[in-house]
């Protein structure tokens, strides 16, 4: 019946095209930067160093990429007739139909499909064993570029996976990247020279280091990064994510170490890469578990011929989005694409619950590394060694957010235990980072720590089932944080590479565009709004949503009240240090005349991006959780996140529901919002008092709590801790390994070389030629034995003759014994 009803719908044959078209557009957007990269790497081959062409190429690539993604987004909207933006309870239904129809018409082609519960039945219409309760649709398109390898049953491939989240991320990333590329043209302008003098590097002859400029190289790296970042977003399986995961790691390594002659830069680059590798170590373990127990890396289901292979999500959550846990709660049964238990030669496939938890934690470890969460947060501040546009693009807006993206994307596989872990990691991180940000005076580092802290918010949100809130915040944060970084970049450029806020002040007179766009960003991140009315900048809505779901969570699980307190308090801290930053930099009177004299507003090529971003930072979240952005995001939200879920595992936690008006979150929403706003305002006014009114002298407080202050300045002493805990031991062990080779293995071989030297004159010659090694052992021993044998060969004829007799007698004895009696 399903088939019958499906065949003659108007949307027949449209959806598959949708899939292909989306795939095409996004692929173009994804690959263009790569092409750009190749061109720019060899830019010098067909141009000279003072040419800006490389930059234009890069901008063109990413810009076209943005247009493609935007088109894709709009096209998708049309195809689904913007069902996503309509009211939630309605959209689930209608959209599901559209998706369903199209899918059926298409599934014959087996490439690029939108899976849907109905046609899962349509395809095996003959067994309607369980009631077709219509669950909300999964609307995504997935397909394969090409296979990397195939081992009998197993299959590793490069896939694409497109849903609204993908589209939003694509649009966001490409847009911000475009802005930053343009900004960078201005920012990196002084690299357009044959003789770039670097004042931070002192040669051993005292002079400054000077080198040819690296304009084109910078843009090459940026393009490489954009390519890898988009790759993550587009990936259709976890393995592919890992691939691009490493590639963004590489490009961040290259960009952080852009000034390769600076020791600090290259060290920071190594630190970033290696710490990410630590995270990836966990990621790898998670992948092993998944790979071994599920036998696939795919996110979505894949139709091959007339059979549909379930993807990871389906296997874990099935069609209704429920874990199929055995009675004793120890085993989780895998489910196939038809809503049954997956079977292999008769036996139902299952994975131990603990293993599933381990897998979740492992994958999350990857996110920890990439998003600089506790305990791997220390690399991100050092990463500020890179040029500021890099910090804006890579280390605030996109790459570090990839960790959150992964966690969100992989949400279906996470059990409540894992989510709890995520929540607490996020909670700790957001607090630690915020506190450190209080005392930092380097303008970029303040932003860096605030980035970490904001990422902590997102992680927390995911942990407390605020899936939509997390991604909501991800997007808004991307806008305002990149805005702020660009502003700081503009400040730095204006002040000729002065980054220390204590030397600034009053700059708003000199560079007002920068100053006020910055202010927008500050207000946004502080989450301020006009009290009473819930009208604020983007940050207000998203943080609001997070705090709300945190509150809901802690109401349902009173044990975890901390998960609400920490973000609430930190909201205040955040607004405090952000305003501190703004006041110190732009308000007040100049503290360093010299800097003030020479600083100037930047050319329009740098300020325009600021304005554009400022607009979006202010308005992107328009409408809050009713608004289009949030709707778009949650449209791709996976089923279980919406409803209230009680854990079956070890940790007895209940995940709040937050869909519709009677959900747990909705109840507490206004309360949470108010609380957050209050703490934010408190923070702001404190900053005002300290740094503008000077009613309280910061230095006094500093002396009061000098212990705490130093502790914070030392970044909670994490670096020294890791130094002693890991780095030193590694070097010791490696030294030990070598000494084992040199001191144990070889001596087993080299034994008694000295003895040989003494043995005889000739032996010394022998020693120089052969000695050492196993050679020695055999060599020496044989040589000595040989020497001792010389003694028998006395050269005395009579003794020789004597030996004849002796020999005969001895042998006779020997035979006498061997021959049996």
């Amino acid at each position: 019946m399903a088939n019958g009803s499906l065949t003659h719908t108007f949307s027949d044959g449209i959806m598959p095209e949708t899939g292909d078209i989306l795939m095409f557009l996004l692929t173009v957007a994804w690959l263009l930067p790569l092409a750009g990269f190749v061109v720019e790497v060899y830019w010098l081959c067909y141009s000279h160093r003072l040419n800006k062409g490389a930059a234009y190429v890069a901008v063109a690539c990413i810009g076209i990429g943005f247009l493609c993604s935007l088109t894709a987004l709009l096209y998708w909207g049309n195809a689904t007739k913007w069902a996503a933006l309509s009211e939630p309870e309605h959209h689930a239904h209608s959209a599901s139909h559209d998706a369903g129809h199209g899918e059926a018409g298409h599934s014959a082609e087996g490439h690029g499909e939108a899976r849907h519960e109905h046609d899962a039945h349509a395809e095996n219409a003959d067994d309607h064993s369980h009631s077709p309760t219509p669950a909300p649709a999964k609307k995504y398109y997935t397909g394969t570029y090409y296979e990397l390898a195939r081992f009998s049953g197993l299959r590793v491939s490069l896939d694409w996976y497109i849903d609204s989240l993908t589209l939003v991320m694509f649009t966001m990333v490409t847009f911000i990247a475009t802005c930053i590329h343009i900004f960078a043209i201005g920012y990196m302008h002084d690299e357009l020279t044959e003789e770039y003098e670097d004042h931070e590097v002192h040669l051993h002859n005292g002079g400054h280091f000077s080198r040819p400029g690296r304009f084109h190289r910078f843009f090459a790296y940026l393009s490489l990064f954009s390519f890898s970042m988009l790759g993550i977003v587009l990936s259709g399986n976890i393995f592919q994510v890992f691939i691009f995961w490493e590639l963004v790691g590489l490009s961040s390594y290259l960009l952080i170490g852009f000034y390769i002659e600076r020791k600090s830069a290259s060290t920071a680059a190594n630190k970033a890469f290696i710490m990410n590798r630590v995270g990836d170590f966990g990621f790898l373990i998670g992948m092993m578990i998944l790979w071994t127990s599920f036998g696939t890396f795919q996110f979505g289901d894949r139709t091959e011929g007339d059979h549909t292979h379930a993807g990871l999500f389906t296997m874990v959550r099935g069609q209704e989005g429920k874990l199929d846990v055995s009675e004793d709660g120890k085993e989780v049964y895998l489910q196939d694409a038809y809503g049954h238990r997956a079977e292999k030669n008769g036996k139902p496939l299952s994975i131990s619950y603990m293993l599933l938890v381990a897998a979740g934690l492992g994958v999350f470890a990857g996110s920890i590394g990439k998003s600089a969460q506790f305990p791997l947060q220390t690399w991100l501040p050092d990463a500020m060694e890179g040029p500021t546009p890099v910090s804006a693009l890579v280390h605030s807006a996109t790459m570090v957010a990839a960790g959150v993206y992964l966690a969100a994307r992989f949400y279906p596989v996470f059990t409540p235990e894992v989510l709890l872990g995520i929540a607490y990691i996020g909670c700790i991180t957001l607090f630690i980072a915020a506190t450190i940000a209080l005392v930092v005076t380097d303008i970029k580092r303040v932003l860096a720590y605030s980035t970490i802290s904001q990422l902590g918010y997102m992680m927390l949100a995911i942990g407390v089932a605020g899936w939509g809130a997390a991604l909501f915040h991800l997007v808004t944060h991307a806008f305002f944080k990149s805005l702020m970084f660009l502003c700081s970049g503009s400040v730095i450029a204006g002040c000729h590479h002065v980054q220390d806020m204590s030397r600034m002040g009053g700059l708003r007179h000199k560079m007002n565009i920068t100053a006020y766009t910055m202010l927008v960003g500050v207000i946004a991140i502080a989450g301020l709004a006009i009290p009473g009315t819930s009208i604020g900048l983007s940050g207000f809505y998203s943080k609001d949503a997070i705090v709300a779901s945190a509150l809901a969570y802690s109401e349902l699980n009173p044990g975890h009240i901390l998960l609400f307190i920490a973000p609430l308090v930190t909201a205040g801290i955040t607004s405090f240090y952000m305003f501190r930053l703004w006041f110190l930099t732009f308000a007040g009177t100049p503290r360093d005349k010299h800097v003030y004299e020479h600083c100037h507003e930047n050319p329009s090529i740098m300020t325009t991006p600021l304005l554009v971003l400022a607009v979006l930072a202010a308005g992107c979240a328009w409408g809050g959780e009713g608004g289009p952005l949030y709707r778009l995001i949650v449209d791709s939200e996976t089923v279980p996140a919406a409803a209230r879920v009680a854990s079956v595992g070890a940790a007895k936690v209940i995940l709040p529901s937050h869909d519709g008006h009677e959900s747990d979150v909705h109840h507490v929403h206004s309360t949470a919002g108010t609380l957050a706003l209050i703490s934010a305002i408190i923070g702001m006014s404190l900053a005002y008092l300290l740094y503008v009114k000077k009613t309280i002298d910061p230095n006094q407080i500093r002396q009061q709590f000098s212990g705490v202050y130093d502790f914070l300045v030392d970044k909670w002493r994490f670096d020294s801790l890791y130094e002693t805990m890991f780095v030193a031991p590694v070097h010791i062990v490696s030294a030990w390994c070598v000494s084992f080779d040199k001191g144990v293995l070889d001596p087993i071989l080299h034994s008694a070389a000295s003895l040989t030297v003494l043995t005889s004159k000739w032996d010394r010659a022998f020693d120089e030629t052969f000695v050492d090694g196993l050679v020695n052992l055999v060599g020496t021993v044989t040589y000595n034995v040989g020497n001792s044998l010389k003694v028998i060969q006395t050269g005395r004829l009579r003794q020789y003759v004597m030996w004849i007799a002796v020999g005969v007698i001895v042998l006779f004895g020997a035979l006498f014994t061997t021959i049996p009696k």
């Binding site: 060969q793 006395t794 050269g795 005395r796 004829l797 009579r798 003759v801 004597m802 007799a805």
Partner: protein, 103 residues
């Protein structure tokens, strides 16, 4: 008077043999050593002849003995020549003086 048995001859042969070996192993004089060789060979000859008299070996024994005598002569000749050469080079036939080659 029973005639002398095989064992008596064998004993003589054995005694000759042992004397020869001892002589070779003890004499320092080269010629003496060569004499020892002769003793050994003749000890063997006695056995041959004795066996040919008492056992089924028959004439073979005698013949072999004859051959051995001839060979012994030849060997002795060469040996003496070598001894002479040795004397020419060392001005002695004390075999112990020939100890340059060793080790």
């Amino acid at each position: 008077m029973g005639e002398v048995g095989l064992n008596a001859y064998l004993t003589v042969g054995a005694v000759l043999f042992v004397c020869g070996v001892v002589c070779m192993a003890t004499k320092r004089n080269g010629i003496g050593v060569l004499m020892g060789v002769e003793l050994v060979l003749n000890g063997a000859n006695v056995n041959f002849v004795a066996f040919s008299r008492f056992t089924s070996l028959g004439l073979d024994g005698q013949t072999i003995a004859l051959f051995v005598i001839v060979l012994a002569a030849a060997e002795a000749a060469v040996a003496l020549a070598i001894a002479l050469n040795f004397y020419n080079n060392h001005l002695t036939i004390d075999v112990d003086r020939g100890n340059e080659l060793q080790g």
